[in-house]
Symmetry: C2
Subunit: 326 residues, 2 copies
């Protein structure tokens, strides 16, 4: 297993492949939030990334790592929406056909964006259907699977955020005490943790998860991969995975300081903070890292902490409702 | 008069003063908007600037251009809110006392932000009171006025956006056919036009104004400064000036291709486009440049056009209402 773990060289290779194709998202800070938390908080808004989330990085890196033969028949993926958009956009850039299986309750804005990019969308029931069974017919027709997170090339692609982050922090002359980001299957966090730990072993890497979907938190505590209890739902559609990936967890159990579970109320409040203090539209699942700052679990006083805001693909209705609740 | 017009050397000096103190706002684009308009549209989000609008640039440059003697007693300004925040933040960085006169109908978020930065806020009636009369008592006590737009140092500071824009476009390997931005008193547009025309005389510089507050449009047509008709109101609180400035109009009449008046409906639709396609919170007055793209007055087909989104300071209630109207 460990032989196939991606490392810093893979992340650097991914950065070379992505150069000029991605937005180098800036670091943004807010005096109001700095004052509230008593430290310096630097936000990395992957909301501004191509397709509105970080997912394009991993999807493009994965497709570019496939041989001509492997990708000849096109690509297939399953996703709640952000990975779907990343795969559809990357496939279009390679001139490949793509089929995306999306949950029946995925936000309409995500489904519409995927179709607009030329992908064929098929729907599945997030609670009932086996994702692999849903995409199997297309794989049997010769389409290559682009997995959402548990894949070395996907992880390395997402890790390019960590390279940027460390270089941008260094350019500001600051040493990051901690980095915090959302966690679903763990592709984002495992990738970023490789780059952060390579540049600065003493920087703590934290993740945040929605209440009841804190499988990575409970897996870290248990020391082995543990799934979520069924019967719950969450507004954080982008990061509702049942359990950590095999590869992502192997990396995360070495690199993470821990995971913080946040409530829907804290997530909604963080979305309002992002709107008022950062002028950024952040979707629920993209905002749990900011929400985790209020938990008190991360030492912020006098520290410098980076927070990745991982996506901004949220429907008008949901967003208006959360803003109006201020 | 022309002897006191700021030029490209003043803008470059301002950029040196501001280096390291401002956010170099990125250029963002959206495949959806590019497809809709049939060209390549590059957005410069000054919403991400310190204090949530471009105004910090001019305010800081103005205060730093004052002598120790001139600024010893602190600074005073009148503003609907964005200039107020820029002045308050810049004054705090210089350790100066600041008094800001704000209209009684200024958004509460702007008033609260100004107070949080340590400024004293006094209110005035936007329709009835003479702004200069309101700030006169503080000037008589030895405070230096930081004017909102009609001042060479203010204009030069805002012009640094144009320097960044042209350098960023060049780095992307594109030639800008046009630049479009909001216009109130003309500080932003006159400053940016200096930098744009210096780098690329053939690039058309357009401004956009709210319907009924299109004093710059009518002044350009008349060939002299013309005020707005009374009796109208607008959601675009940031750019509701009665008439162009003397200095700003002298520059704008030479450099602008024209001004486009946009309706409130078009402005609200542009705010929704910024949310959905760019994940950016843009206030009404900050979004009229994007709204102007739908007017048909600017040739977009096959062109490359930059749009400045000048601010994002909008109340939750107003924003939620506009998002919910999708």
């Amino acid at each position: 297993m460990t032989a196939s773990l991606p490392d810093i060289a893979d992340v650097r290779d991914a950065a070379e492949r992505l150069a000029g194709l991605i937005v180098t998202t800036p670091l943004i800070e807010s005096p109001v939030l700095n004052e509230r938390f008593g430290g310096r908080i630097l936000f990395k808004p992957e909301t501004l990334q191509r397709t509105g989330s970080f997912k394009f990085r991993g999807a493009y890196n994965k497709i570019s790592s496939l041989s001509q033969e492997e990708r000849r028949g096109g690509v297939v993926a399953f996703s709640s929406g952000n990975h779907a958009q990343g795969v559809a956009a990357a496939a279009a850039m390679f001139g490949l056909k793509s089929v995306i299986a999306m949950p029946s309750d995925a936000p309409e804005t995500k489904v519409a964006n995927v179709r607009r990019m030329g992908a064929e969308v098929v729907r599945f029931d997030r609670f009932r259907d086996d994702r692999m069974a849903v995409v199997k017919p297309w794989m049997e027709q010769g389409m290559a699977l682009v997995p959402p997170f548990d894949d070395p090339a996907i992880i390395a692609g997402q890790g390019t955020i960590g390279l940027e982050l460390m270089a941008q922090a260094a350019a500001l002359g600051v040493m990051l005490d901690a980095v915090v980001m959302p966690c679903g299957g763990g592709g984002l966090s495992s990738g970023i943790s490789i780059a952060v730990k390579d540049a600065s072993p003493q920087t703590a890497v934290w993740v945040a998860e929605p209440e009841y979907f804190d499988d990575t938190r409970r897996s870290l505590v248990a020391g082995r991969r543990v799934g979520n209890e069924p019967g719950h739902d969450s507004i954080c559609d982008a990061i509702l995975t049942h359990e950590p990936g095999v590869i992502t967890f192997e990396i995360n159990r070495r690199n993470l300081a821990g995971s913080i579970a946040v409530s829907e109320e804290a997530t909604a409040a963080a979305m309002r903070d992002a709107m008022a203090c950062l002028k950024l539209v952040v979707e629920p699942g993209g905002c749990v890292g900011l929400a985790a700052l209020s938990s008190g679990e991360i030492d912020l006083a006098g520290k410098c902490v980076a927070v990745v805001l991982s996506g901004g693909n949220v429907d008008f209705g949901t967003y208006a409702r959360i803003m109006a609740a201020a």
